[in-house]
């Protein structure tokens, strides 16, 4: 601490050096014509090096060969941090790599192209390049949407930005986050497995230590509703608290607890402890899962001007995603409930597999290991 005090006032009176060199920017020029997207994205080589490491031979010089060798990594990294939507997600790919110079040095120039599901309506853009590493990074966007031009500075707080539908932008913002919510429950395998572990036994009942199918669809439906509703209520509470910055937990703890919840839910199917009050389990662990959703949302960014609306949209999206899973699962499970296939393979083996997968997650997350390569 003493050392850092040493030059204290110097630092403040060093204001004149405050902007020397330049903070990190990327230059993103996007052209959308109907469904067709083309874009040019200039990203500083220093930034790519900081995020991915480019200087293969460690001589402090990046060569064209070193950059070219990493083109696929760079493309995957950059594309995972840019999302365009028009009537749905517009998948993008990198079609070319060049270089250029800006005021602060060399840049990689990525040429992108893609196709949107919708050919008219608002365009949503979400940008989060480097924000995890450099909070001062900005994306300088120039967008041409069906001939109309927009420019904006994209920052960690800009979230999903909407263009070309000013009068419906509130609704568009809501639906944008709704889509994100649906998407994130679908790719969040730990949430899905947890939910399924609780739903698998909903069409069964334990009778004389043996599982049998429930008698009526209504009974199964009631059980499912209880479980899903309490899971929803619980994670909505913690998601909102965390997203609004009122509560925060270390992500390693949250992720480990989520894995543990899947282990326990699956184990409960194999060695039943909680049978009639699964909704309580769903509620208790739902609180933890909410923190998990919140970290996704934090990565996504919430626009400051529509915080609550976007939060509601995301939450609603998560629910819609869940309902879709339930709607797909319940009728099939109900039909199969009295078969050996369902009871032994789907329910028994499925619970075993779920538990094993979740155990691996738990070990990885709790001890920061990499047991199974992605």
């Amino acid at each position: 601490m003493k050392r850092q005090l040493a030059a204290f006032i110097l630092l403040v009176v060093c204001q004149l050096s405050a902007w020397a060199h330049k903070a990190s920017d990327s230059y993103l020029a996007v052209d959308v014509q109907g469904r067709a997207v083309t874009a040019q994205w200039d990203i500083a080589l220093r930034d790519i090096d900081f995020a991915l490491g480019l200087d293969g031979d460690g001589n402090a010089e990046i060569t064209w060969g070193e950059l070219r060798a990493r083109q696929n990594d760079i493309a995957a990294w950059a594309l995972s941090r840019l999302a365009l939507t028009r009537g749905g997600v517009c998948p993008l790919e990198v079609t070319g790599l060049q270089v250029d110079d800006h005021t602060d040095g060399g840049y990689a120039v990525l040429h992108l192209s893609g196709t949107c599901p919708g050919e008219a309506g608002a365009l949503g853009l979400q940008y989060r390049l480097l924000f995890d590493l450099d909070k001062l990074h900005r994306g300088l966007l120039r967008l041409t949407l069906d001939g109309a031009t927009y420019t904006t500075v994209l920052s960690p707080t800009s979230g999903v930005v909407q263009f070309g539908a000013a009068q419906t932008s509130r609704w568009a913002q809501f639906s944008q986050y709704l889509v994100e919510g649906i998407w994130h429950i679908w790719i969040g395998f730990d949430h899905i497995l947890f939910l399924l572990s609780l739903l698998l036994p909903a069409v069964l009942v334990l009778h004389m230590r043996r599982w049998q199918g429930v008698s009526s669809f209504g009974a199964a439906m009631r059980e499912v509703l209880w479980v899903v509703t309490s899971f929803t209520a619980a994670h909505s509470i913690t998601l909102s608290l965390a997203a609004l910055g009122l509560v925060s937990l270390p992500s390693r703890l949250v992720e480990s607890a989520i894995a543990l919840s899947v282990v326990l839910a699956a184990a409960n199917n194999l060695w039943p402890v909680v049978e009639h009050r699964r909704w309580l389990v769903a509620f208790g662990f739902g609180l933890i899962h909410g923190f998990g959703f919140a970290s996704v949302l934090a990565e996504l960014g919430l626009p400051a001007d529509a915080l609550v609306l976007s939060l509601l949209g995301f939450n609603a999206g998560v629910e819609v995603g869940q309902m879709a899973i339930v709607a797909g699962f319940l009728p099939v499970a109900f039909l199969l409930r009295n078969t050996r296939f369902y009871v032994r393979d789907v329910f028994g083996l499925g619970s075993w597999l779920t538990m094993l997968v979740a155990l691996v997650w738990l070990l990885e997350r709790a001890f920061d290991l990499k047991l199974v390569s992605a």
Binding site: A6, L11, V13, C14, H21, E61, I62, G65, D101, G245
Partner: protein
């Protein structure tokens, strides 16, 4: 260089859209022919001791993501790097490390976040963080020192004095001396300030503390008009052999003021990457009419434009000086200097305000500066003369703003 038709038309399109959107788009992407072409030079080799130090800190922060101490050590190292290399990317890195702890900040992290806010001239938020740090740990001298420094920049001298007194109570004589000396210097007691700095220097054990005190001794001497003494202090500071952007800028300003631009050329030729130093280099080159001047002035123009694009306003004092001395656009310079003076009120900020007002024949713009001089009694003869000259200006003689 030869252009084909395609390149010309692309260039025309880019120029038009560039003008329309103020995006700097003069260049056209290229595909190097040779894999061995060097397309960027990094600040360090991977094996350099500083790079290895940073990597060690990064690794330990990665290993224990919830560990506030590991994060604070890494963020501090990034911030120090930003200062030493005048490179704001490291400030962004530090910010990203600190912001992982937004809801459970340790005292160290609060102090660092305060430093990051002040770096971006968000003085109000910085003061809140330093206050929170002091609430957690009332003996945190650094938080007092930083608060004192912010109050000095904002010309709140009574508040600054309280922070200096707190440093004395915490038995930090060197910090207290530095703090007190600046308050004295800015409130019309240059001789006492000089003596206070000398006393602090006698107690200072660390080289970076000595460097800072020697630099300020040089500045105070120059304000007192004692150039030989100022030069001796600057040379002692340079002899310590530490990279320091502030020292180089102050010494270059002294050389420019004493009509020795050739020495600035030699001093700063390797510091083009740092914009404040490039500004001084370009001024010296312009005075000496060397060919490099033109490219450097253009580079500064581009960098100011790039900063403007991202909404960065922390460099207005430098930009004012650039518009005044190198672009000969006093009307724009006085606007920038006045906007800067609204936020920062140190002698450097005052000087560019007065010089720009004088060149733009805008006596009214200089009024806040004249008021400050009157209320503080600041003694620098050069600045007092400038202020007096702004009073002689004819009352109405506005020059229309001409965009560069």
């Amino acid at each position: 260089m030869s252009f084909n038709c395609y390149q010309w038309s692309l260039r025309a399109v880019l120029l038009v859209s560039g003008a329309l959107l103020a995006l700097p788009a003069q260049s056209v992407p290229r595909t190097p022919v040779d894999d061995a072409t060097v397309i960027e030079k990094l600040p360090f080799r991977a094996g350099d001791s500083r790079a290895r130090e940073l990597e060690t800190l990064r690794a330990s922060a990665r290993k224990s993501p919830g560990d506030a101490n590991a994060a604070a050590a890494l963020a501090q190292a990034y911030f120090d790097m930003a200062q030493a290399r005048s490179d704001p990317r490291y400030v962004g890195y530090a910010d990203a490390v600190v912001s992982q702890f937004d809801n459970n900040m340790s005292t160290d992290l609060l102090v660092i976040r305060g430093m990051l806010y002040q770096y971006r001239h968000d003085f109000d938020k910085a003061l809140v963080d330093f206050a929170s740090a002091l609430a957690q740990d009332p003996e945190r001298a650094g938080a007092h020192a930083w608060r004192g420094a912010i109050y000095l920049v904002e010309a709140q001298y009574d508040n600054a004095r309280k922070e200096c007194a707190a440093l004395l109570k915490l038995q930090r004589p060197v910090l207290h001396g530095g703090c007190d000396a600046l308050v004295q210097a800015y409130t019309g007691q240059l001789n006492s300030a000089y003596a206070t700095l000398q006393q602090a220097l006698a107690l200072a054990r660390y080289e970076d503390q000595r460097l800072w005190l020697l630099t300020r001794l040089g500045e105070v001497s120059a304000w007192l008009g004692q150039n030989a003494r100022a030069e001796r202090h600057y040379r002692d500071a340079l002899a310590l052999g530490l990279d320091d952007g502030y020292l180089l800028a102050a010494w270059a300003d002294f050389l420019l003021d004493t009509k020795r631009p050739a020495e600035v050329l030699k001093l700063l030729s390797a510091w083009e990457a740092s914009d404040p130093l490039l500004l001084r280099l370009a001024e010296a080159e312009t005075l000496l009419q060397v060919p490099a001047a033109k490219a450097h002035v253009q580079a500064l123009d581009d960098r100011f434009a790039a900063a403007k694009l991202r909404g960065d306003t922390t460099h207005r004092a430098e930009e004012a000086r650039f518009q005044l001395r190198l672009r000969k656009n006093p009307a724009l310079a006085v606007q920038l200097a006045a906007a800067n003076y609204h936020v920062q009120k140190e002698p450097r900020d005052l000087r560019v305000l007065l010089e720009a007002a004088l060149a733009a024949h805008d006596s009214a713009a200089a009024k806040p500066g004249r008021d400050w001089l009157q209320s503080t009694g600041f003694e620098d003869a050069r600045i007092r003369t400038l202020a007096a000259q702004t009073l002689q200006l004819p009352p109405v003689a506005k020059i229309p703003v001409v965009a560069p």
